[in-house]
Amino acid sequence: MEYVSPEGLRLDGRRPMEMRQIRAEIGAVSKADGSAVFEMGNTKVIAAVYGPRQVQNKSQQMNDQALVRCEYSMANFSTGDRMRKPKGDRRSTEISLVIRQTMEASILTHLMPHSQIDIFVQVLQADGGTRSACINAATLALADAGIPMRDLVTSCSAGYLNSTPLLDLNYVEDSAGGADVTLGILPKLDKVTLLQMDSKLPIDILENVMQLAIEGCKAVANYIREILLENTKQLEFRRGV
């Protein structure tokens, strides 16, 4: 199938190096210590952060650092075919682990011993790149919760179809069977915290695709910073009134 037309447009009308529109909102869950909604095109996820709080399961308590937990789930109505998936299937267990490890790399866990931080992410609408959207939402929620972090973690995916590197794959492109690279970086520190790829790519092409993904991550980071600053400004304004 043709994923990039001769005019250089993708199926949804984007250019190969174009991202979908992103939108973020802070404070979606009032009960949580921090929360956010993150949208990348038609992918929409909600994240809630609780903590740092006392460890629920004492046997998991650590004396030198905080325990970070993450739970990923997909709403039944998030995909086109309404499927009843058992909670804790292999896919969601894997993504939970990936998100947890990615976020743990950025959180200054040694500042909060004897405590735990819970991150809950749920996919409300799935259209490819849920992993990236979840990580971005989790970053926003953690920053909203005021949990100390080394840097924001941002994530973006990139792929390679019709011998063209494509940024931010949607569901159709994701299921095309080409390579799909999900990258998570600490943008200011220039460090990679997550790199996943399914299928294979020659190393020189991987470099191009990864560079594209890095650009995507940095664009997301700029947007997230804007949102955070805007949110802080508004909170200050409200406090001042």
């Binding site: 210590d33 921090g34 004492k58 200054l108 920053a143 919760a145 005021g146 802080t232």
Partner: protein
């Protein structure tokens, strides 16, 4: 250097300066490899000039976040706790206030027999010192074991500050070991806190 009037807003990961310029304060951290100070919170950045007599003349840079975390009991802090269970050698309690601030989640505390009062500590009868439901002012002695903070009431101003009698009325302190019910006149035993008049 930043103007004090217009504090800059920062997000996690932003560079604030180097260790030679600034002393890292709250909401910041130092990367171990390049001696750079980064922000770890979202909020306003502030430079605080050092104390005049301190040997370190670098200004302290800190980032104040907008979310205030609930207070956490620390050794030495005075807490208000509600007694939940009284046993022969100890009483357990839920800490509800640290200093003047109420906590946002429950912390468990335990008052051991030897920490109830300062004198004759081996003759203490826990059941004649506390009852479940009593409001107690106590001192945090240590972080305790994994389950609970160790609390102490071994001072005049520490102990039961408010208690309900079996008749259901709030009792009036009579002496440092007794409280009286205003309805029935019944006297109950407590380790009463001496209130500042």
């Amino acid at each position: 250097m930043e103007e004090e009037k217009e504090p800059a807003m920062v997000t996690p990961g932003e560079v604030l300066g180097t260790v030679s310029e600034f002393k890292p304060g709250k909401g910041t951290y130092v990367a171990p490899h390049n001696d750079t100070v980064f922000a770890s919170l979202t909020g306003y950045r502030r430079n605080i000039s050092p104390a005049i007599d301190s040997s370190d003349q670098r200004p302290i840079v800190e980032v104040t976040g907008h979310k205030a975390h609930g207070p956490v009991p620390q050794p030495g802090s005075i807490v208000i706790a509600r007694v939940t269970k009284v046993m022969a050698r100890s009483a357990s309690a839920h800490i509800v206030c640290v200093g003047t601030k109420s906590v946002r989640e429950i912390f468990n505390g335990i008052i051991r027999q030897q920490d109830v009062r300062a004198t004759e500590i081996d003759k203490v009868d826990m059941h004649l010192s506390f009852r479940p439901g009593d409001i107690v002012r106590a001192l945090v002695v240590s972080l305790g074991d994994a389950r609970a903070y160790f609390l102490s009431t071994a001072k005049n101003e520490l102990g039961v500050v408010s208690a309900e009698s079996t008749a259901g009325a709030t009792m009036v302190p009579v002496s440092w070991t007794e409280m009286q019910c205003p309805l029935t006149g019944q006297i109950e035993q407590r380790k009463v806190a001496k209130m500042a008049s």
